[in-house]
Symmetry: C2
Subunit: 136 residues, 2 copies
Amino acid sequence: MNIGEVAARSGVPAKTIRYYEEIGLIPPADRGSNNYRDYGTREVETLRFVQRARSLGFGVKEVAGLLELYRDRRRTSREVKRLAKQHIAEIERKIVELEAMRATLAELVERCHGDHRPDCPILADLAGEPRQTRTG
Amino acid sequence: MNIGEVAARSGVPAKTIRYYEEIGLIPPADRGSNNYRDYGTREVETLRFVQRARSLGFGVKEVAGLLELYRDRRRTSREVKRLAKQHIAEIERKIVELEAMRATLAELVERCHGDHRPDCPILADLAGEPRQTRTG
DNA sequence: CTTGACCTTCCAGTTGCTGGAAGGTCCAGA
DNA sequence: TCTGGACCTTCCAGCAACTGGAAGGTCAAG
């Protein structure tokens, strides 16, 4: 199977598959006599796994860890659960940060007349004291 | 005022101030005879503005737009409000995306025993059908 | 035998910084 | 006067996770 076919079946663009190979997330593909990468269904499955994990927001390094666990028959579900929980915590941290931004902005937008005049509480707020930068 | 002082007063690291200058977000600073950048309180204010806008999640290009409006006495608050609302929409899009990830992960974590055995619904799910990739 | 859709590699750009090297400057204290 | 450390300067590299594009090889159909 050529890379285009794998891309179509896994949902991972050909370009990205090559990139994953380059950074070592997936092993180098076999090559045909024409030097084309040659894949089987196993590789498609691996890439689907990667695609799904990425779509859940796991970073590439975390995906590498999950992939290792996936392939390890002696893994414990405890370890998998730990990674997942850790990732949920990270997502929640981001949500909290975004919610705070939204709240501040919503309040400012609420107070802004949004007319032809230059007076604007949004700009007035931005011109005020330094705000706390996001942690992390 | 040297760049270190400005950094302390504005909350923007010296390194970042130079970077902002390089990309044109702020105008090139005056230079002293020793070639050190020389700033006044106006520059500190500008950098505070930038710092606050960035902390609300505005991208550098958006900050450039806000800064332009800030300096334009003939601006309309309508325009500022429009930018802010647009940014809120973007933030909300991200929140929705993160919430979806959290929901999926929470459900999987809930179903995972998290014990010494290898059986794991989290990995089973990842090994399933391709999921929709995030839009944008 | 040509055309077009594949495939290959490599380089550059994206976003927003941050770290570090190599070197110049300034000021306080011995 | 010298020295040391804390400044400042520029430039180069790297992070994350790709994506776009150029230049060129391959393959199958008509």
